[in-house]
């Protein structure tokens, strides 16, 4: 069974204090790893897709990296508006023609204080 574990569950940072969020995963074969941002009371907003170990993607203050067992979301010099829950999800290579399913972690609640 595919599993995704995110840590820490919650992280409180001061503005400008860089840090990383972790997503550990177990899948039969990774087709893609996704990062989403979710604000309170809203739907997840797509950030990145990573496909293979060693791949990196950046967007503003966020940088996502991938290894064979985990992914990191690095946040450089965060601002209060970066406060949100960050969700990690994996899509596995399944049998048959349907590889649709995303398995999500519970997320990391990030709070950035001014």
């Amino acid at each position: 069974e595919d599993q995704v574990t995110q840590s820490p569950e919650a992280l409180r940072l001061q503005e400008g204090e860089s840090s990383s969020l972790n997503c550990s995963y177990t899948v039969s074969g990774l087709r893609g790893l996704f990062w989403y941002r979710q604000d309170p009371g809203k739907g997840p907003e797509f950030l990145f897709t990573l496909y293979s170990a060693g791949e990196e993607k950046e967007k503003e203050r966020l940088k996502a990296t991938l290894t064979k067992k985990e992914s990191f979301l690095h946040i450089t010099a965060p601002k209060p508006e970066d406060s949100a829950t960050y969700l990690c999800a994996v899509q596995a290579s399944g049998s048959g023609g349907s590889n649709y399913k995303l398995t999500f972690g519970k997320g990391t609640l990030l709070t950035v204080n001014p």
Partner: protein, 114 residues
């Protein structure tokens, strides 16, 4: 802007009273998904439509059903809501089922069961 729209954003129903949640999309995507997300938990896939083909997850209760009358619209019907069905319901879309493809989420509908 192309988007995924959910109505209503907040829905209050009574125990056992049927309720319907609505999702529409302007992305012209083939696939539409319904997820259930309870507080501080990971989104859980209920079912999805690939065009008109309905695919139910094995552990989705019979109390939950869905309709997709055309490409743009998809409905989630809860026949007899229980207190445990109170949650955020998320609609998502993607272009295709097979291969790696990003799922884009709507803002969600928060369901309260009294």
């Amino acid at each position: 802007d192309a988007m995924v729209i959910q109505n209503p954003r907040y829905q209050v129903t009574q125990f056992g009273k049927p309720v319907t949640l609505s999702c529409s999309q302007t992305l012209n995507h083939n696939v539409m998904y319904w997820y259930q997300q309870k507080s501080s938990q990971a989104p859980k896939l209920l079912f999805h439509y690939y065009d008109k083909d309905f695919n139910n997850e094995a552990d989705t209760p019979d109390n939950f059903q869905s309709r997709r009358p055309n490409t743009s619209f998809c409905f989630l019907d809860i026949r007899s809501p229980g207190l445990g069905d109170a949650a955020m319901y998320l609609c998502a879309t993607s272009r295709k089922v097979t291969g790696t493809d990003t799922q884009y989420f709507g803002p969600g509908t928060r369901l309260t069961v009294l």
